[in-house]
């Protein structure tokens, strides 16, 4: 048999003595885990399918089947190889169960990731990341899970815990609802119910962009299993885990502005005419308008082109944005048309306060603050009475600011060109 330890790099931590030692220090205690029969059965299943010289590797030890006894189907043919210790051979099923029950954290950890979570790359990487399974030992993780591990994903807060059978359970809620008693939140258990949650924002408005920071509050998924957690997160923020996973693997396929717009066809084909080889300032404006963290929680990784970075920050998001999204493409089509117009000089008089008020109105709309401005708060330039006063004073009957037609050739149409 080959040495089972040669292929494992984990520390030896999982016997009951080490638990006792951990309890005596400042570290959180590793919880008592009862080895569940489904985990033990899965180990027996895996042992039955082992080829000669193969091992099932757990953190700190491995189990196998003695080669000579395999064909004979002998009763006592299991082998246990603890790290740095002599191997124990000739174990029957009862002996093996006792040995694995003594190492229940490592066995249930194997069972969770090899049998419950499965192989699918993004899901496995996400669930291992939740508890730092590729950095921390089983003992460290089980102790941390017993206390609750909290992770942020966009506006979601995930709290991972472990049951006394080693199963992972997860709670998901809005970050702003952290600390709210569960019974005050609407509980859900089916990940697909998240579709309802993400459709409208807190004010009942449709959310065309799932990664906009407008997720509504008031709900909780109190008790999800690993696959259900993954499905819930993927429903709230579609494809974010897959893209985050690709990025961690160094395989994120970024499609920059130029190539994305060159790919467009139909009514969006016009966007490529907006790039005129005169710099990329217009794309800076797009990114500042649409991709700022205040508008979208993805971290923008696309630039103008492979050699030309944009001048605005990509944001701090956990998950990446790999190409201009459909919202950006649709808006860019509009801007391509609007930006093809030539500037004109208009002449009208404003008081200094009126100029500042126009600036405040633009700021309030751009920052989504109009709903926050109180009805009687006339100190605010974007206050409704203030805006109505400005319109009454400065707009003519055709809606022209300062009575100046937008198009001098068509003085009655203030919306010329649109």
């Amino acid at each position: 048999m080959s040495d089972p330890e040669s292929a494992t790099d984990s520390e030896f931590v999982t016997d009951p003595e080490s638990v006792t030692a951990a309890e005596s220090g400042d570290e959180p205690a590793v919880p008592e885990i009862d080895l569940p029969s489904d985990a033990f059965d899965a180990v027996l299943d895996a042992l039955a399918g082992l080829a000669p010289d193969e091992w099932i590797r757990f953190e700190g030890f491995a189990v196998g089947v003695a080669g000579d006894d395999r064909a004979a189907d002998a009763d006592a043919h299991y082998v246990l190889e603890p790290a740095g210790d002599d191997s124990r051979t000739g174990l029957n099923e009862r002996d093996l169960h006792a040995a694995l029950a003594d190492r229940a954290p490592a066995v249930t950890d194997w069972y969770v990731f090899e049998r419950v979570v499965g192989e699918f790359g993004p899901r496995r990487a996400f669930l291992r990341w939740i508890e730092d399974a590729d950095g921390a030992t089983v003992a460290e993780r089980y102790a941390a899970l017993a206390a609750g591990i909290e992770r942020a994903w966009g506006q979601l807060r995930v709290i991972a815990t472990v049951t006394d059978r080693g199963e992972r359970r997860y709670e998901v809620r809005h970050a702003d609802d952290v600390g709210v008693p569960r019974e005050e939140l609407t509980a859900h258990d089916d990940p697909l119910e998240a579709r309802e949650i993400v459709t409208l924002d807190g004010k009942g408005r449709y959310r065309p962009l799932k990664t906009a920071p407008t997720l509504r509050r008031g709900w909780v998924f109190p008790d999800l299993g690993p696959k259900e957690l993954y499905e819930t997160v993927e429903t709230v923020y579609p494809a974010t885990i897959a893209n985050w996973h690709r990025e961690r693997e160094g395989e994120l396929d970024v499609s920059h502005w130029r190539e994305t717009m060159a790919r467009q066809s139909g009514i969006y084909g016009v966007i490529r005419t907006w790039d005129r080889g005169e710099g990329h300032e217009h794309v800076n404006w797009v990114a500042e308008a649409c991709c700022d963290d205040s508008q979208c929680l993805k971290r923008r990784e696309w630039e103008y082109d492979e050699d030309t970075d944009l001048d605005v920050d990509g944001g701090e998001g956990v998950f990446p944005c790999r190409e201009p999204c459909s919202v950006v493409v649709s808006a860019a089509r509009k801007w391509t048309r609007l930006e093809s117009e030539q500037p004109r000089t208009y002449e009208f008089d404003l008081t200094p306060s009126e100029k500042e008020q126009l600036e405040e109105i633009v700021d309030a709309v751009a920052d989504g603050r109009t709903d926050e401005i109180r009805e009687a708060d006339t100190k605010e330039g974007a206050n409704r009475y203030r805006a109505r006063f400005l319109r009454a004073k400065l707009f003519d009957d055709a809606g022209n600011l300062g009575g100046v037609p937008t198009d001098p050739d068509d003085p009655d149409d203030p919306d010329d060109g649109e």
Partner: protein
């Protein structure tokens, strides 16, 4: 592991656009025919560009929830899914007969079965009839009734009219309804003049659209004269020039649409067990009291 990916248009403005896609995905999930059922969109998320990377299975069927062959099914979806070597000749279609093409999606480096759109499948004819049953509440509706199948004309896409005529012809041949007409929004015969084309006192009007939105909720009701302005609403049936019009709204919202999605996947080789029978049964219209 067998996976279904339903791809649809979606909307930046209207949450109802994706609602039928989700509803049919749920019906198919409940049937157990696939190990996983995913949805992808042009205007929502996950986008066509990223949906395949969320798919776990290795036997993948992509079914476009679109009414006809054209710009989206022939250009946009194959390009955005990154189907290597795609050419519309892969479908060898006359505009109605696209079935499937098996191509490698370079996004995931795996083969996918890219199916024809639901709207041109023969089973879609049954959905139009089922829609008439739903809106009248009568599983035996037909005698004494006319049926109008309505779509865009050829202005946007010549295959759009082909699909409308195809289903209208099939329903007419079945002889269930007294009269069947194909009508259009932007060409003759126009839906605006619906009462002129029917002798029957009752006509069911079924728009061949995937989701309710601007066309089915504003354009058609106003054009037909069900209401002056869509914000006023209308009754079902509503009498216009002596004809009682039973306006069905988008056919794509009919639960039996899930069956057409399954038929597309089955035609491309998916193993569905008894899911087709299950879905036909569970989406049936109950007989009225």
């Amino acid at each position: 592991m067998q996976s279904l990916v339903i791809v649809a248009h979606g909307s930046h403005l209207n949450p109802e656009s994706s609602a039928p896609t989700y509803a049919h995905a749920d019906t198919i999930r409940a049937s157990g025919a696939f190990d996983e059922v995913k949805t992808g969109f042009w205007k929502e998320e996950p986008h066509f560009r990223e949906v395949l990377r969320t798919v776990e299975g290795d036997d993948v069927y992509v079914v476009p929830l679109f009414v006809s062959e054209g710009y989206f099914t022939e250009q946009v979806i194959p390009r955005e899914l990154r189907l290597e070597g795609w050419d519309v000749s892969e479908w060898d279609s006359d505009g109605l007969s696209a079935d499937q093409a098996t191509l490698v999606a370079s996004d995931v480096g795996r083969e996918v079965h890219y199916c024809g759109p639901v709207g041109t499948h023969a089973a879609m004819t049954d959905v139009i009839e089922r829609r008439a049953e739903s809106v009248t509440g009568d599983p035996d509706v037909g005698e004494g009734f006319g049926l109008a199948v309505v779509g865009h004309g050829t202005e946007r896409n010549e295959n759009s009219a082909k699909a409308i005529e195809y289903h209208a012809d099939r329903i007419r041949e079945r002889g269930r309804f007294d009269e069947v007409r194909a009508l259009y929004m932007d060409e003759d015969p126009e839906v605006d003049d619906l009462p002129e084309f029917f002798e029957s006192d009752d006509v069911v009007l079924v728009p061949l659209f995937i989701a309710d939105g601007y066309h089915t909720q504003e354009d058609i009701p106003e054009d037909v004269g069900l209401c002056e302005d869509h914000t006023e609403g209308y009754d079902v049936p509503e009498t216009v020039d002596g004809t009682r019009i039973w306006y069905a709204g988008a056919v794509g919202t009919e639960p039996l649409m899930a069956d057409v999605i399954l038929e597309r996947a089955a035609d491309a080789g998916a193993d569905l067990g008894d899911a087709l029978a299950t879905v036909r049964e569970t989406t049936r219209v109950a007989a009225g009291d």
